[in-house]
């Protein structure tokens, strides 16, 4: 038997449980979730916080055959005896495992600022992080200040603003995402957020909070019924560290997602593979799929996930591929486009026809296409500029696209020459051309084109008449 215990009940843990069942895992499958809430989409919390989605809408479908213990706080792992100790409603529970999976996620950072942090380290009243549904329930409407220039801050601020909340986004850099995008792109991002109703205050940090107010480093004081902390997260490695597993920034795993103890695996935000941590929901899904295959005896190896930061905000279309350092790698060609009027920006680093890094703003098709090409390790199109500017595709240079005798009526495969012959034979109106060639009689879409040709040829004849015999045309 291979009884699997998963510590965690977030999206990564849920996905793993679902995939294990999908691959026929029949033995025990237990999830230990700290929150009282069934598994839910963390990604959608900004919509819940903003009131666009009711709580049940967030819930993930239950995994048949999985035992889920909610409100269960794991206290220790006994690797020797392969047991997990936990508390639930004050009662200790013990869970034996053959395979243990750590999916403990990440914990939001709470800055050590007077009035923001409780002595215990948690957020003070009127202050909340944005990691759980309980966090969202701590928001009490009115004026909201979102602290932090991270993607989550941008997403939360724009979701709240879309529902009519007064929202201020305070970020430490000159603009949100200052460590990912330059000032030009950051300025466009700020402009889009402002247009969506978010007040953006750059180059500012919180220095003190008093009830209803927040003082900033630049001396301003904001009205703030709720302060939302989006100042980053840290992989939750506490249990792993206490159990003596190798831990760096996250819990260190190999390409089979194994920790330094072969019967313990880790995945999602808490794990560290090849130096990567906090890989986001897509990466976590990929790891869960891989681990489910590994645990059910299928061949599978985990590889680095492509690093793509796709901001989930309807106010701003932004995607960052790779890290800022990737732009400086040797042998890359760089292309930068700036369209200040239409707020479009693209900076792309290319090597061997592959994108190695990119910052794309306001260019939806390029964001979708380049992201997909990067993820599947495919080559870029030859006409990269056309893609970035969303220009209509160019006909291939050696294509028959510019045919000497184009088909005018697709439905009846009538070419221009055939129409012209019919015209010369006396079919001088659209109905006459239709009965002579069947053009326009299918979908009717070419009606206008045929009419225009008709007129053109008629004018041509007149011009000819005027040229050769001016007296006739007067």
């Amino acid at each position: 038997m291979n009884d699997v215990v998963i510590i965690g009940n977030g999206p990564a843990a849920h996905r793993l449980a679902e995939r294990l069942r999908h691959h026929g895992h029949e033995a025990g499958l237990t999830l230990l979730g700290e929150e009282p809430e069934p598994a839910y989409h963390r990604t959608l919390l900004p919509h819940y916080a903003a009131g666009s989605l009711a709580r049940p809408s967030l819930h993930l479908p239950p995994v048949p055959g999985a035992r889920v213990h909610l409100g269960t706080v794991v206290t220790a792992i006994d690797r020797e005896r392969q047991r997990v100790y936990a508390y639930r409603h004050g009662i200790e529970t013990v869970h034996r495992y053959d395979t243990l999976v750590l999916a403990t996620g990440a914990r939001p950072d709470v800055p050590d600022v007077p009035g923001l942090r409780e002595p215990g380290g948690g957020p003070a009243p009127g202050v909340t992080t944005l990691r759980t549904t309980a966090d969202c329930d701590r928001m009490n409407g009115g004026s909201v200040v979102v602290l932090g220039g991270e993607p989550l801050g941008v997403e939360a601020a724009s979701a709240l603003a879309a529902r009519g909340n007064g929202v201020t986004l305070v970020c430490p850099g000159a603009h949100p995402l200052h460590d990912r995008v330059d000032d030009v792109c950051g300025g466009m991002l700020t402009a889009r957020l402002e247009a969506a109703g978010v007040t953006v205050l750059g180059a500012a940090t919180a220095v003190r909070r008093t009830p209803g107010h927040l003082e900033l480093s630049d001396g301003t004081t904001l009205s703030a019924d709720t302060v939302v902390l989006c100042a980053g997260v840290t992989p939750d490695t506490r249990l792993a560290r206490a159990a003596g597993l190798d831990v760096g920034a996250g819990i260190v795993v190999d390409d089979r997602l194994r920790t330094s103890d072969p019967s313990i695996h880790a995945l999602g935000d808490c794990a560290q593979f090849d130096g990567q941590t906090l890989i986001g929901i897509s990466g976590a899904h990929e790891q869960a799929d891989t681990l489910a295959r590994i645990l059910t005896g299928r061949p599978a190896v985990h590889r680095r996930v492509p690093r793509i930061l796709r901001v989930r905000s309807r106010a701003a279309d932004l995607s960052c591929i790779g890290s800022p350092a990737d732009f400086d790698r040797p042998g890359t060609r760089q292309i930068t486009l700036t369209d200040r009027t239409r707020l479009r920006y693209a900076r792309v680093a290319v090597r061997d026809e592959h994108v190695t890094a990119a910052v794309l703003f306001g260019v939806p098709q390029a964001i979708a296409t380049i992201g997909m090409l990067h993820r599947s390790d495919r080559r870029l199109p030859g006409d990269l500029l056309g893609l970035l500017l969303d220009l209509p595709p160019r006909p291939a240079s050696d294509s028959a696209g510019a045919s000497a005798d184009p088909v005018v009526c697709l439905c009846n495969h009538v070419t221009r020459q055939r129409l012209h012959r019919a015209w010369q034979d006396g079919a001088r109106t659209v109905p006459a051309l239709a009965s002579g060639t069947r053009a326009t009689t299918g979908c009717g879409g070419c009606g206008q084109a045929v009419e225009e040709l008709c007129g053109q040829w008629a004018r041509g004849t007149r011009d000819l008449v005027e040229e050769t015999c001016p007296a006739l045309s007067s």
């Binding site: 959608l44 809408s57 979708a368 006909p395 240079s397 028959a400 979908c443």
Partner: protein
């Protein structure tokens, strides 16, 4: 003998090809040649595409089958008399049945057969052969939409409204449908609407769209889930409608919650902003329709994909209202009627289930047999073809109105299965690729030579009328079934040969079924009545049901069902050896396997040979240039095709039409992964590589 000058004979009928069934008037006759002109019929209103205009040419195809053919000892197909051919077939069928049992005999029908033929073919299989092994090529066409429609609405009527309703639409979503090529005269009804087209290619239809979403092949389900997600998060869904007219919204919506727009973008390659725009265009329209076609249906996830689009339509409150609806654009000429009258593996006439005891009782009583004499459900089309000649599979096969050697997925495998049969009998009017493999070929009538009914894509029953007598020695399919049945010891009266007589029996058999035709008669149709099923027989003539869901859906509680579906992806993913997605489809000039349209000079001239559409960069990287010859290969096989460079193609996708024969068959590379519910094969996506044909100049 002196005769008065003959009036030119005329017949008001319908085009022989697609499910739009454009009204036409045929005139002329033997000797003078047949001409066609479009009629002012509601679906086409005086329009016709090139296939329809040139259809008469097929009547005199040079290689038209005009006498039975029998495979001789030296392997040739040689002319034989009808008696010899039919005696041979009956003897060999009997021998196989005696030795291996009735399920060693099988029948493969077609979605182009008239209602009468489809009905009699099902009856023949179940009674004269006694086999459960009957299915038809409509399985490759409509089955996913049918199973999703039945589950959602309790009834599968392709379009539950006349196509003319589309004229008032503000927004129409065409999901995997390309009517500008596949049924051009339909486009006039879409002139007013803003179109949203979902297609991996920039088709002729997509070029007219206000918004074209161009997903990676095999990801339509994720796309549909994403549109529902946006509808829910943005509050676009119609909560009053959902509460009053539907069930099971929550579990369906819960699946969609996992498909936030950025995840859908990552999976489909469709930009988030386009997804949002599509959802809002549908929701903000005064009148909106969601229509699906083969592009989203021909997948191993086809049923769920259609269900996801139905979910979207239901969430927006469209089906069964004056504000719009959902429908599928049926493909084959009688794709709708052909799926209702018993040539489907699990069905009895009237769209009845073969496993429902009440249905069995009813049909058995109409047929004058005991219910226990009716076999149970058999294999679905591809499973049937794949079982041919195997230890527990059929050893004798009768094919009517189908050309699976070209049209079935993984065609080389299907051809091997056909070749392994003890007996292959094909009834057709031209020597199709399948007919050329047959032991016995039976020449049958075609459209302008026969009477009958077809049911078009909107569920309207139409009359097909004869202009000409068939050539000497050509028989109608009904006659062939009759002749065979009698030789197999069946009572002659059980297999009428007059279409009107068969229709009368069909009416009785369908009475009380979901597709109830009992109130429809040739007289009413010939009087010009527009009758859509269900049309039960009532004391006052029933007016038919053009819009069946206006008051209630066809489930007993009257409510439509949301389906809890999730994205699974295609059965075959790309790999380093097969790095591209291939998708297959139709071109305007050809129809299905091309057995008919490749014999019409004008159509062959328009599209003379198999080709593959490729993005210029993808072609260049594969060492291919415009007009060169490419091998398009999957792990299953290779198609040889002329290269067409098409800059609007996705870089990761190639397209090939499936209308061509021999090594130009696109189905040599397609994947036979089947939808678990509908049995639909995955025609629309598989993994391929491109390379120059060895030895050819690129």
């Amino acid at each position: 003998m002196s005769e008065p000058p003959a009036r030119v004979p005329k017949a008001g009928t319908h085009c022989p090809y697609c499910a739009l069934q454009c009204g036409t008037v045929l005139s002329g006759g033997e000797g003078t040649g047949v001409t066609v002109r479009p009629a002012d019929f509601p679906v086409n209103r005086g329009r016709l595409c090139q296939k329809g205009w040139t259809a008469p040419e097929l009547l005199t195809a040079a290689d038209r089958l005009t006498q039975p053919l029998l495979r001789t000892g030296d392997g040739r197909l040689a002319p034989a008399s009808w008696d010899t051919a039919l005696d041979t077939v009956a003897e060999r069928l009997t021998a196989i049945r005696d030795r291996y049992g009735p399920d060693a005999l099988a029948v493969f029908g077609g979605g182009g057969l008239t209602n009468e033929k489809a009905y009699l073919l099902g009856k023949f299989a179940r009674l004269a052969l006694g086999t459960s092994q009957i299915d038809y090529n409509g399985r490759f066409c409509m089955s996913s939409a049918a199973s999703a429609g039945n589950a959602a609405f309790g009834m599968d009527r392709g379009l539950p409204f006349p196509v003319t309703d589309l004229r008032s639409a503000d927004t129409v979503l065409l999901a995997g449908a390309n009517p500008a090529e596949t049924m051009p005269p339909l486009m006039q009804h879409l002139d007013r609407a803003e179109l949203i087209v979902i297609d991996a290619r920039r088709t002729a239809t997509a070029q007219r769209a206000a918004l074209h979403l161009q997903p990676v092949p095999g990801t339509d389900l994720a796309l549909a889930l994403g549109l529902l997600h946006i509808a829910v998060v943005d509050g676009l869904h119609d909560q009053a409608y959902i509460a009053a007219r539907t069930r099971d919204f929550e579990p369906a919506a819960r699946r969609a919650m996992a498909w936030w727009p950025e995840r859908v973008e990552e999976t489909t390659g469709v930009p988030v902003s386009s997804l949002r725009r599509a959802a809002h265009m549908l929701a903000d329209a005064g009148s909106a329709y969601v229509l699906t076609g083969r592009g989203v249906e021909q997948h191993s996830t086809g049923t769920d994909t259609v269900a996801a689009f139905i979910n979207l339509a239901l969430a927006l409150g469209l089906p069964g209202t004056d504000r719009g609806g959902y429908g599928c654009l049926t493909g084959q000429g009688n794709g709708q009627g052909g799926r209702e009258h018993g040539q489907k593996a699990d069905q009895l006439p009237g769209y009845r289930s073969l496993t429902d005891p009440a249905a069995r009782n009813h049909v058995a009583s109409v047929w004058g047999v005991a219910p226990e004499d009716l076999p149970g459900p058999g294999r679905s089309a591809y499973e049937l073809l794949d079982a041919l000649g195997s230890d527990d599979g059929p050893r004798g096969l009768l094919v009517f109105g189908s050309n699976p050697a070209v049209s079935a997925p993984d065609a080389a495998r299907v051809v091997r299965r056909l070749a392994s049969l003890d007996l292959l009998v094909v009834a057709d009017f031209v020597p199709s690729e399948t007919a050329r493999m047959a032991d016995v070929v039976l020449p049958v009538t075609q459209w302008a030579e026969e009477e009958g009914t077809l049911t078009n894509l909107e569920g309207r029953v139409l009359r097909r009328r004869a202009l000409l007598p068939p050539p000497a020695h050509v028989r109608g399919d009904l006659q062939v079934l009759h002749d065979l049945a009698v030789r197999l010891g069946q009572p002659a009266a059980r297999y009428p040969v007059a279409p009107a007589e068969v229709f009368e029996e069909l009416r009785a058999a369908s009475r009380g079924g979901r597709a109830d035709y009992s109130g429809i008669s040739y007289e009413r149709l010939d009087a010009g009545e527009a009758l859509h099923w269900p049309c039960p027989e009532t004391p006052e003539p029933h007016p038919g049901t053009p819009r069946p869901f206006q008051d209630r859906f066809a489930h007993p509680d009257g409510l439509a069902r949301f389906a809890e579906v999730d994205h699974r992806g295609p059965a075959e993913e790309t790999s380093s050896g097969y790095p591209l997605y291939a998708t297959t489809g139709r071109v305007l000039a050809h129809y299905q396997s091309g057995a008919q349209t490749r014999r019409v000079a004008e159509l062959l001239d328009a599209v003379p040979e198999p080709y593959v559409e490729v993005h210029p960069d993808t072609a260049a990287r594969a060492g291919l240039a415009e007009h060169g010859h490419a091998l398009v290969s999957s792990v299953r096989g290779s198609m040889t095709a002329r290269v067409r460079l098409e800059p609007t193609m996705r870089l990761d996708t190639v397209f090939a039409p499936f209308h061509f024969a021999a090594d130009g068959r696109a189905n040599l590379f397609t994947h036979a992964a089947l939808d678990p519910r509908s049995g639909m094969p995955e025609f629309k996506v598989c993994a391929v590589r491109l390379e120059p044909v060895p030895g050819a100049t690129p």
